[in-house]
């Protein structure tokens, strides 16, 4: 196994290059694939209503985030005790949301909320996850971050 240093060096460089390209290629494929499947867009109720029939968005059959305020007096617990319905409004439009599960601690009427899930028909949104948006007091990022975690809150997009 006597290999000259020059050949070894060349071989090593080739190996590094090929290895790097292969890993990068796989990673790029993974990333592209993941972006296609797991990107979740954010819409407000009025946007959803305005663009429901927009064929490029396919709102009817894709998972997205719905954000707005929980309308006052709209929260109703169904008979099973753990399913809740409420109305999300952005002042210009509203959509009814149904969620089975325990709402985050910061969820309250009149508060910001982000629900992730799918539409069922034009006016009912079945949420798989509800994030309360605690933003009553505009605050520094650390605090917002802490609140976000505690309340399972989601911030940036929801400020629309």
């Amino acid at each position: 196994m006597a290999v000259s240093p020059a050949r070894l060096r060349k071989r090593r460089r080739l190996l590094l290059t090929v290895g790097g390209v292969v890993v990068l290629g796989i990673a790029a494929a993974l990333v592209l694939n993941a972006f296609r499947d797991s990107v979740v867009f954010f819409y407000s109720p009025s946007e959803v209503q305005a663009r429901l029939d927009d064929p490029s968005l396919k709102l009817a059959d894709r998972r997205f985030r719905l954000g707005g305020l929980v309308a006052e007096d709209s929260v109703v617990t169904l008979d099973d005790g753990v399913t809740t319905e409420f109305t999300v409004t952005d002042g210009a439009g509203e959509i009814r949301v149904r969620f089975t599960g325990m709402l985050p601690a910061l969820f309250r009427e009149g508060q910001g909320v982000v629900a992730e899930g799918r539409l069922e028909g034009a006016n009912l949104f079945i949420a798989e996850d509800v994030l309360a948006k605690h933003d009553e007091n505009y605050m520094p990022p650390e605090v917002a971050e802490a609140l976000k975690k505690s309340g399972h809150w989601e911030g940036p997009e929801a400020a629309q």
């Binding site: 006052e72 009149g110 933003d135 007091n137």
Partner: protein, 176 residues
């Protein structure tokens, strides 16, 4: 083969441009669904007997108005108050306030200490009217034209630089 050594900085510069564009965008977004629309119809009772109630009628046909949503428990509200006091000096705009989910006595103490530039202060203890305005949190400030349409929404405290860069030019422009 030195070009490879320049690869990292190339990638970084692209990233930096993207970050800069992102920074610019974020500073300018936060539009409200209500900007350009008439103010919601509402009638709020007076905070206490030192002021009067605040209704949607106040905002129509009375020149430019500025509506500030505040609470005494909100620290940024305290920070922006000097700027509101400065705006209160202007003759071409009337300041109104919605006191959001607050104890009237504490709100009054807040104003006694920092000054009261408001022509009327409506109390919104449940936050119900604030929802109609699309309020996400406090402080928020709206500028309403003489026709009663919302022309601008400011999210978060109005800092001195916001006053110069956004509010004052807007008021100057809308007034002329």
């Amino acid at each position: 083969m030195t070009w490879r050594a320049f690869l990292p900085i190339g990638v970084f510069l692209v990233l930096a441009v993207a970050l800069f564009v992102g920074l610019g965008r974020n500073a300018s977004i936060v539009p409200s669904a209500l900007v350009g629309k008439p103010v919601p119809t509402f009638a709020l009772p007076a905070l206490d007997d030192q002021t009067r109630g605040f209704t949607s009628a106040d905002l129509k046909g009375n020149g430019l108005s500025l509506v500030n949503v505040f609470a005494s428990w909100c620290a940024p509200c305290r920070a922006e108050h000097p700027q509101l006091m400065a705006l209160g000096q202007r003759d071409d705009v009337t300041l109104y306030a919605i006191n959001y989910k607050d104890d009237p006595a504490k709100a009054r103490a807040f104003l006694d200490k920092l000054g009261d530039p408001f022509a009327a202060i409506g109390a919104d203890p449940t936050g119900r009217v604030s929802i109609d305005w699309g309020v996400y949190g406090v402080p928020e400030t709206y500028i309403v034209n003489a026709r009663g349409e919302i022309i601008y929404k400011h999210v978060g405290p109005i800092m001195p630089q916001d006053l110069e860069a956004k509010i004052v030019p807007l008021l100057d422009g809308a007034g002329s």
